[in-house]
Amino acid sequence: MKIELNGEARGDVKTAAAAVAAVTEARRGIAVAVNGEVVPRSEWDLPLADGDTVEVLTATQGG
């Protein structure tokens, strides 16, 4: 199964939780989108599907 995580192809990431763990140790201030839609924290352990586009986002400086 291949997904795209923050713009990079990955074959080893099966859940949103794993996607978060792959890019950061932080859990607070993190949000996950799969195919553009927000994934609530309660659903982070649900399986991803082949071809999913996953974004793991956090706060950064901004006006």
Binding site: G7, E37, L57, G63
Partner: protein, 272 residues
């Protein structure tokens, strides 16, 4: 150089001056909202937040990048101020709505500074997409603070859509040009029943004071502080400017006249 923390505004008294800024269900003592974009580092940002007296600061939502120094949310929390996430960089209503939903998940707040821009050169709001996104987000229970053009009619539409405030620009983001159309800003203030927050384009303290004199309820600025030579001192200057501008507004300025009017009476003038 004076310590900004000890520079106390001397004019902050009189009726109404201590009335807080109420947006939706929150009331703030400070009428300055600080954007965090452009800060050189977290320590400098924390110092600027403290010196500004702000109680609300904006952040953006971006991909996690490995090796980033600490979390900006931790910096903001340690300052004891609230986070206002934005949708900076979004060009469509759909992008902005999705970003707002992600921000709500990340920060646990329904508040969103809604930005939907039309192009990269001007960063001016796209009014059609902005209103569309505002209507969707209000329906989803967000407290929407839209960054908007200095257009009184659009401001009216945004208020009617249920936005908790309207945030017209002084000038394009990051330009520091000051208030390009004070007449329009005053018209927006006169017509609005929600707080009007002057957002973007502020260059220096006198711009912030002018926004308040025109009737704005608050000022939101980032670059003017974060990219000043001394951000902490400029933050203190902005704090005092907003207070001074509001005091001047409440005090009621004198009308402008074409010809001089002596402040010293001619009565009793000696025959010399």
């Amino acid at each position: 150089m004076p310590d900004p923390a000890t520079v106390t505004p001397g004019i902050a008294s009189g009726p109404g001056i201590h009335t807080g800024l109420t947006i939706a269900d929150k009331t703030f003592d400070s009428r300055l909202i600080l954007g965090t974009g452009g800060a050189a580092n977290h320590a400098q940002l924390a110092a600027a937040i403290a010196a500004s007296g702000t109680e609300l600061v904006t952040v953006a939502l971006r991909r996690v990048s490995p090796g980033t120094e600490g979390s900006i949310v931790d910096v903001i929390e340690s300052c004891g101020v609230d986070v206002l996430p934005n949708t900076a960089g979004c060009f469509t209503a759909e992008q902005a709505v999705r970003t707002a939903r992600l921000a709500r998940e990340a920060f646990g707040t329904n508040w969103i500074k809604l930005e939907v821009i039309g192009d990269e050169d001007t960063l001016l709001p796209d009014p059609v997409e902005l209103l569309d996104a505002a209507e969707t987000l209000v329906a989803e229970g967000f407290t929407v603070l839209p960054y908007t053009n200095d257009d009184p009619i659009l401001a009216r539409h945004l208020e009617a859509a249920g936005c908790a405030a309207v945030m017209p620009l002084a000038a394009p983001i990051g330009t520091g040009l000051g208030i390009r159309n004070p007449h329009n800003l005053a018209l927006i203030c006169e017509g609005a029943n929600v707080p009007v927050i002057c957002d973007a384009g502020i260059g220096t303290a006198s711009d912030a004071a002018q926004a308040m004199e025109l009737g704005c309820a608050a000022v939101l600025l980032a670059t003017a502080v974060t990219r000043a030579a001394d951000p902490e001192l400029m933050a203190a200057a902005m704090r005092d400017a907003v207070t001074a501008g509001r005091a001047a507004r409440l005090a009621g300025r004198i009308p402008k006249r074409q010809l001089a009017k002596a402040s010293t009476t001619f009565d009793g003038m000696a025959d010399l």
